[in-house]
C-alpha cells in the first residue's frame, strides 16, 4: 500500500522539474522579445555573435547583404562579346538566344584585346528559364557574361524576364543583314569565277 502511494507520488516530482525547465526556457525567450537580430551578411565579423533576440528578417523591408561574389542574375557586357555562341550551346536549359551578323566593318577590340568580327543584333537571356548553374560564365572566353549578386528581381509579366542585350537596333540589324548577304553573294561569285578561271 505504501509502495503504491510512493509510486503514485513519483511522477509529480518529474512533472514539477520538467515544468520548471520548460517554462524557464520559454520565459527566457519571451523576455528577449524586445531584442532583434540585425540582418548581417556572412561577410560581417559579428555574423556568428548574434545569439539572442528575434531572428525574423522582414524581407522586402530588410535584406541580408549578399557577398560580392554572389552568383544570381546574369549580366552581359555587350562591348566584350565576340559572338562565339559557346554560352548558348552549353546552357542546359537553352535560355540564351544569340544571333550574329558577319561584317567587314572594323568593330574594334574587346577589353582583353580579342578582335570582334561579328555584329550582335540579338543576345536574349530568359532569366525565367535560367537554372543558375553558371556554365555560361565559365565557358565565356572574354569574361563578358557574369553572374551578379542581384537576386531580388521578381516580375509580374513573364516576358519581362527576358533581358535583351546586343549592339544593333532592329532597323540597323536589317541593313547590316542585307550588307552581309550582299557580301556573301559577292564572295560566292568571286569563288565561282576563281574556280572557273582555274578550270
Amino acid at each position: 500500500m505504501a509502495s503504491l502511494f510512493i509510486q503514485w507520488l513519483k511522477p509529480i516530482g518529474s512533472v514539477i522539474r520538467s515544468f520548471r525547465l520548460g517554462f524557464g526556457l520559454t520565459w527566457s525567450h519571451f523576455k528577449k522579445g524586445n531584442k532583434r537580430q540585425k540582418p548581417k551578411g556572412i561577410a560581417d565579423p559579428d555574423y556568428f555573435q548574434q545569439s539572442e533576440g528575434l531572428v525574423t528578417i522582414q524581407y522586402p523591408h530588410e535584406q541580408i547583404p549578399v557577398p560580392d561574389q554572389g552568383r544570381y542574375r546574369l549580366h552581359m557586357e555587350t562591348e566584350d562579346c565576340i559572338v562565339c555562341d559557346q554560352c548558348a550551346r552549353i546552357c542546359p536549359v537553352d535560355c540564351i538566344t544569340i544571333e550574329g551578323i558577319k561584317t567587314t566593318d572594323d568593330l574594334g577590340l574587346t577589353s582583353d584585346g580579342t578582335k570582334k568580327k561579328l555584329y550582335l543584333p540579338t543576345f536574349d537571356i530568359d532569366m525565367a528559364k535560367c537554372c543558375y548553374c553558371g556554365l555560361c560564365t565559365t565557358v565565356c572566353p572574354t569574361e563578358c557574361l557574369t553572374m551578379t549578386k542581384v537576386y531580388d528581381f521578381s516580375e509580374t509579366d513573364r516576358d519581362a524576364f527576358t533581358y535583351h542585350y546586343g549592339n544593333l537596333s532592329p532597323e540597323e540589324a536589317k541593313v547590316k543583314q542585307q550588307e552581309a548577304e550582299a557580301l556573301e553573294e559577292a564572295r560566292k561569285a568571286a569563288k565561282l569565277a576563281a574556280s572557273k578561271a582555274s578550270a
Partner: protein
C-alpha cells in the same frame, strides 16, 4: 433591478456583451500570435497596421466574406446549428457573471451552478459538429472532445466545490462580496483558505482541458486530426468556433477569479487617503470590472504561455491526470474544507 425586466435593456446588455467578447477575441488572437512568436524568437504579425495590430481584424473580415461550404454528405441542419450552439452556450454563461457589485444581467442565487451547467451544453454542440460533418477526423475529434470535457468537468467541479464549502453559497455576487475587506489581497479566498491554492491549480488544469487548449488539445490535434471537429467548417461558422474558444477561456478565467482570487476587489489594502468610491456606483462598476477583467486576462495570458510551452499529452496520460491525480486530490480538498467548516462551527 426592475429595469432589467424590460426586454430592450436585455438586448442592449447582450449587444454590449457580444461586442465586448468579439473585441476581446480579436485582441486575444493577436496576443496569442504575438506570445507564440516571441517564445519562438519570431516577430509575429507585423504588416497590417502598426506592429500588425489590425491583422486579426483583417482576418475576421476575410472569414466573414468567405463562402459557406457545406459538405454534400453532411447533415445540413446539425452542421449549421452546431457552431451557434457552441457559441451561445458560452455566451449565455456570461449572463450570470457579476462584473462588479450589482453589475450583472442575471443575478441568480445559484449562479455558479448555472454557469457550469450552461457551459456543458457546448459538448452537445461539438458532438453535433463532429457528427454532422460526416467526416472521420471530425467525428474522432468530437468523440475525443466529449470524453475529455466530461471527464474534466469532475475535477473542475470538485475544485469549485471545495471553495463553495468554504463560502457556503453558490451566488457569485455573495462570493465576491465575501472577499471584501480593508486588507485587500489577504481577504481573497485563496489566501484566507490556503488549501484552495491547490484547488485552483486543479481547476486551472481542468479548464485547459475544457477549452480544448494545449496541452489538452487532443480534439483539435492539427497533426493527427486536421483540426478535429471543425475540420469541415469555414468562413463565419469557423469564426464562431474560434470566438467560442476564446470566450470560454475568458469565462472560465473570470469564474476562477470570482471564486479564488477576490472577484472585483483590488489586491491593494485600504490606504488612508485613498479616494472613497462608495456612493459612486458607476466608478465602483468601472474599477470592479477593471480589476476582475484584468485578473482574468492575466490567467488567459497564462493559458497562452502554457500552450506554447507544453507538448500535447497522450490520451492515456489525459485520463491518468484526470482520474488518478486531479479527482482524488480534489476529493481530499473537499474533505479539508469540510473539516475546516466543522472546526469553525464547533469552536
Amino acid at each position: 433591478m426592475e429595469e432589467a425586466s424590460i426586454p430592450y435593456l436585455g438586448l442592449l446588455a447582450g449587444g454590449i456583451a457580444f461586442g465586448g467578447i468579439a473585441t476581446y477575441a480579436l485582441a486575444g488572437v493577436y496576443a496569442e500570435r504575438k506570445v507564440s512568436a516571441f517564445i519562438q524568437d519570431r516577430l509575429g504579425p507585423m504588416e497590417t497596421g502598426p506592429k500588425g495590430l489590425f491583422q486579426t481584424a483583417a482576418d475576421i473580415l476575410k472569414l466573414l466574406m468567405k463562402e459557406h461550404i457545406v459538405p454534400s454528405a453532411a447533415d445540413k441542419i446539425l452542421f449549421a446549428i452546431a457552431p451557434l450552439l457552441v457559441f451561445l452556450s458560452v455566451f449565455a454563461g456570461f449572463s450570470a457573471i457579476p462584473f462588479a457589485p450589482g453589475l450583472v444581467t442575471a443575478p441568480l442565487n445559484a449562479g455558479l451552478l448555472f454557469v457550469l451547467a450552461i457551459i456543458s451544453i457546448e459538448v452537445v454542440g461539438i458532438l453535433m459538429a463532429g457528427w454532422g460533418s460526416n467526416n472521420k477526423y471530425a467525428l474522432i475529434g468530437a468523440v475525443r472532445s466529449v470524453s475529455q470535457i466530461i471527464s474534466y468537468e469532475i475535477p473542475a467541479a470538485l475544485a469549485l466545490l471545495s471553495a463553495i464549502v468554504m463560502t457556503g453559497t453558490l451566488d457569485l455576487q455573495i462570493i465576491g462580496m465575501q472577499q471584501d475587506g480593508e486588507w485587500g489581497l489577504l481577504h481573497w479566498n485563496a489566501i484566507r483558505y490556503p488549501h484552495l491554492i491547490p484547488a485552483f491549480l486543479i481547476y486551472f488544469t481542468a479548464i485547459l482541458a475544457e477549452t480544448n487548449r494545449a496541452p489538452f488539445d487532443l480534439p483539435e490535434a492539427e497533426s493527427e486530426l486536421i483540426a478535429g471537429f471543425h475540420t469541415e467548417y469555414s468562413g463565419f461558422r469557423f469564426a464562431l468556433f474560434m470566438l467560442a474558444e476564446y470566450a470560454n477561456m475568458l469565462l472560465l478565467s473570470i469564474l476562477a477569479v470570482l471564486v479564488f482570487f477576490g472577484a472585483w476587489h483590488s489586491p491593494i489594502p485600504d490606504i488612508p487617503g485613498m479616494p472613497d468610491l462608495s456612493g459612486h456606483s458607476v466608478l465602483i462598476w468601472i474599477s470592479g470590472a477593471g480589476w476582475l477583467l484584468g485578473k482574468s486576462l492575466f490567467l488567459v495570458i497564462l493559458m497562452m504561455w502554457i500552450r506554447w510551452t507544453l507538448p500535447r499529452v497522450r490520451p492515456d496520460q489525459l485520463m491518468v491526470i484526470c482520474w488518478k491525480y486531479l479527482v482524488p486530490v480534489g476529493l481530499g480538498l473537499i474533505f479539508i474544507s469540510a473539516i475546516w467548516q466543522l472546526v469553525r462551527i464547533y469552536t
